[in-house]
């Protein structure tokens, strides 16, 4: 007999595994799609569908919560950088190299961040970092 806590743990682990599979599939699926479609059209369709899925999921499970006026500009800025700028750069980069190369580059992003930060700020990279 599996306890409720254990069942919840197993469910969480399965969901994490599903998230990893979907995330990993992003590279080859995107590479295949941009061979068929203009990169911006592909990104447009992808983002609108993703927004719809998340919006409907949120609306179906949560009550409406208005965004405070003072948060709107900050949210807009974060959205522009994290979703518009990032995704445009991602898809242009992906169109110039293989799915494998872009997966490795993105997976090693924390390392690149350290090197670029050290270079820009003239800081030493120490072992305890």
């Amino acid at each position: 007999m599996i306890s409720t806590d254990r069942r919840r743990d197993i469910r969480a682990e399965i969901l994490l595994l599903v998230a990893v599979v979907i995330w990993a599939a992003n590279y080859p699926v995107s590479k295949f799609s941009i061979a068929q479609l203009n990169i911006f059209v592909f990104n447009g369709i992808r983002y609108v569908i993703a927004s719809l899925v998340l919006t409907v999921f949120f609306m179906a499970t949560q009550a409406w919560k208005p965004i405070h006026r003072s948060d709107r500009a900050r949210l807009l800025r974060a959205g522009l950088v994290a979703h518009v700028l990032y995704q445009v750069a991602f898809i242009i980069g992906l169109s110039m190299t293989t799915a494998g190369n872009s997966a490795v580059l993105l997976a090693t992003a924390p390392l690149w961040t350290i090197f670029i930060h050290a270079r820009l700020r003239n800081e030493k990279i120490l072992p305890q970092m």
Binding site: V41, I49, M59, A60, K65
Partner: protein, 220 residues
Amino acid sequence: MATQVAIRRLLWVCAFGIAFAFVESSVVVYLRALYYPEGFTFPLKFMSKQHIAVELIREAATMIMLASVGIVAGQKKWERFGYFLVAFGVWDIFYYVWLKLILNWPLSLFDWDILFLIPLPWISPVIAPVVLALCMTLCGAGIVIRLARDEYFRPMLLSWILSLSATLVALYSFVSDIPAALHGQTPSAYRYELLIASLALYGAGFVTSCRSPASGRAHQ
């Protein structure tokens, strides 16, 4: 409890959509054997007048059947509409799934298809109706679950304007290539920007329908 009942009903409506899609696919398998024995491809071939009349009535009958399922499954107006959207969306997606299994067509989501005949032939790559059907399924399920949880859902004037605009934009993207639809020519490039705009407008229509007039001002 009400949510669980709604989810169970949604699953049954999905089962209907999947099974009914097989009926639709099998009719198309026979039609293609008649008109496209070497495999379906553009330019379109002209059907006999009798077959066109039968097809038009079959399409209308299909809509009545899908609407009937929604009416039987739901109790309130918008709940019924939600079930109808789910039935329609699942039916449309599985129509292509069954065709793929039976005929190995479409070879990709970018193959062109003829979607509907009223008032003139609608044509587009397969990805367009599939994405719209996915949107319908999601929004339908969202409406049903919201209402089961006693959350607000009522389209206001803005929601109607957004949703009707979305429908017109999507329709225009399907019927704008008149030479390919009516004069037996090969389709030109599909206008994906119209599909994206249509999806975004539907999304906005759904969101505005979920906002009660009071909640928008609560935290201002």
